[in-house]
Amino acid sequence: MIGLDTVATPVGLLIGIVCGLIPLAAGIHYKQYRAGIAGFIACALTGFGCGLIGGLPMIVLTYAVVLSYAYVNRQDPFTSRAALTEVDFSETRVESIQRVLANIGTGIRRSFRALTRNKAGFLGFLGIAFFILVTTFGPLFIPYEGEAQMDRRQPGSRVLVAPPSWEHPLGLDWKGRDVLSHMVHGGQRLIITSIQAGLIATALAVVLGSAAGLLGGPIDTVISAVANFILTIPGFPLLIVLAAVVDFDSDFMLAVLFGVLNWPTLMRAVRAQVLSLRERDYVQAAFVLDLGLWHIISREVFPNMVSYITVNLIFTIRIAMYSIVGLTFLGMVPLRDPDWAVMIFTGRQQGVIFLPQAAGMLLSPIIAIALFQLSLVLFARSLEEIFNPRLRSGV
């Protein structure tokens, strides 16, 4: 759905390289070699991982960054120290597009610098990037072992499961399959479904919360009533019951179900924020200037909530991941190999949970999930710095 759920393919690599040529060429043209090469790598990687969906936007972003380096010394008349009579604002279409792109590039660089400034947040970012890279590109290097490997039974052992060894750094699972291959192949689905679930819940919360706050009246009453109703039902047990009733043919359905059950808390916070932002003087000024409702929502109110919303998005993704793992652990969703959560489930089901040799098989997914969660929490810290102009523009 968001383009990450494609496994790296040779075609993707080709697309990525072709995309990467554009920032590279720009880098050479403007003599910004480092930026050009970094852009090439970024394009190649995203193209490799996600094909056109990843490669094309990346061209724009990396090209903008290269331009922003090239334009450092080019004086924009808009920010010159001259007097009004001395400057000429006329420019060609191309020049104005380049200027806008360079501004976007500067913004990206500033955000990135804000990201690296907070050590904990940057660590979280690296953690998330690590898991995404491993689950996207890992499958290229580590083949998936789906079949039971009976021949790996240790002499004298009654089970196939084995602790870590040189050949199998994370050990073998209950069917004698390499745990590392399952780790590499089995994380993407969980991560993607959690992100989807978080996005759906957050999107519902933002749309409904803004509508309730800005429109008020009966719409507000209905939305708040539904939210309160959902809030009174205990979420996870309901998810279990629904999971038993609804037949999930796709993970996306699970994400939707999670989203539908988890928007109310954030919705109420968004609504309260919109209500308070609506009374701000600058929003009133926008009304007096007749800038239109859409402008007021998207440019006046939303930018002041965006850091709050993204931090919440991160936490919703966390909760979604726990819920999905919980459901899988209880066996309430169709089990499909390979999957981190399914590894825990089968570990329990097959009774190897009590065997010391099974530590590799059980702890690997648990630690991976815990680390991913930790990365999310740490990353959330940086978001505030990225979105708050007070903190960002110190650059």
Binding site: F78, L84, Q284, L289
Partner: protein
């Protein structure tokens, strides 16, 4: 000449605790083209509410607002949008009136683009510079890419004014526009407003609780004194200051400190009967000021609500029955309960 804006019998009530509170009552006010008119009065008397009604942020509960002699509602939708744009508001708090998420260039650019005030992107950028130069923020290039939090209060207030100028307004309501900036910057801001008025033919509605400021700023203009949601005195500033008519205006003037100690010493002391402003939910009958008025005439002032009218010996209009009927104002000793209170 027809006034640009005229309020006719405007009332405004707010609902508070399920009870209607009359915040404005029977406001009649004509504002001439290119004039400066000051609204003064104590906190809570409805100055901001009047300003918001003029700038279209609030609708009157009853009564109507006329633009160039015709009720606003009689214009078609498009014309109404244009009219609304021509009536702008500058807020009091320079820290709250600019969106912290946008640069100054963006803040000024939004209305310019939205209403196509100028052609093309280069036109917008040139206009932003022009506006910043107009409000003495120079060099403009230093300001355009800054965020509001990087500017001082005075600079922000100038940006606020520049923003209201983006849409070529006819009238600007400046609601306590200088009361939150440093005293040293006030004078230059006020001078700038004066210059803008002359250059652009603006009409300025200047709202303040400070009569000294009103006197300074609107010396060539008019003053309307408000008390508990009504205008009690209105006239040329010079007349109102030189010979205040309404007892409330006199009390306000008596409270203005003078720089000259001699003046202060010889100033007439006006003792109000009470310092407490009555609550809007419990407005006294008759003249709302009579429970505090040292000159009140029992049986006259507490009966009917006085309307604005001429008083013999005054060139301004005043809402005070004894004055209108030519009864000399004498301190009503018998009923002075709160003697010794100096306002």
């Amino acid at each position: 000449m027809t006034p640009v804006i005229e309020l006719r019998g405007v009332n405004r009530t707010f609902i508070k605790d399920r009870k209607p509170i009359p915040v404005l009552q029977d406001i009649n006010l004509g504002i001439e083209e290119n004039e400066i008119i000051c609204l003064v009065g104590e906190s809570g008397c409805g100055k901001t509410t009047t300003g918001k009604i003029i700038s279209g942020l609030l609708q009157p509960s009853s009564g109507e607002m006329l633009f160039r002699g015709r009720p606003i509602s009689s214009y078609d939708r498009k014309e109404q949008a244009v009219i609304r744009r021509q009536l702008q508001l500058v807020h009091q708090d320079p820290f709250a009136s600019l969106n912290p998420a946008h640069t100054i260039g963006d803040i000024l650019g939004f209305p310019l683009k939205r209403h196509r005030m100028v052609d093309g992107i280069s036109g917008v950028r040139r206009r932003i510079w022009e506006l910043l130069t107009m409000v003495d923020l120079t060099p403009p290039g230093d300001i355009v890419n800054k965020y509001p939090h990087q500017l001082s209060g005075g600079q922000r207030q100038r940006v606020s004014i520049a923003r209201s100028l983006t849409v070529n307004p006819k009238l600007i309501v400046a609601d306590e526009a200088v009361s939150m900036v440093d005293v040293s910057i006030r004078i230059s801001l006020l001078k700038m407003l004066h210059e803008l008025r002359e250059r652009l033919g603006l009409t300025i509605v200047f709202i303040t609780h400070d009569l000294a400021l009103a006197k300074y700023f609107a010396w060539e203009g008019r003053i309307a004194v408000m008390y508990l949601g009504r205008i009690v005195e209105i006239g040329r500033t010079q007349d109102v200051i030189a010979s205040p008519a309404h007892p409330y205006t006199r009390a306000l003037l008596a409270a203005v400190p003078e720089a000259d100690p001699d003046l202060t010493r010889h100033k007439q002391v006006l003792r109000l009967r009470s310092d407490d402003i009555p609550s809007l939910s419990d407005i006294p009958p008759g003249c709302a000021f009579h429970p505090r008025c040292p000159f009140h005439v029992p049986g006259l002032c507490d009966g009917v609500v006085p309307a604005l009218g001429d008083g013999p010996g005054f060139s301004q209009q005043v809402a005070c029955l004894p004055l209108q009927q030519g009864i000399p104002l004498v301190v009503n000793q018998t009923s002075t309960q709160n003697a010794g209170q100096h306002v």
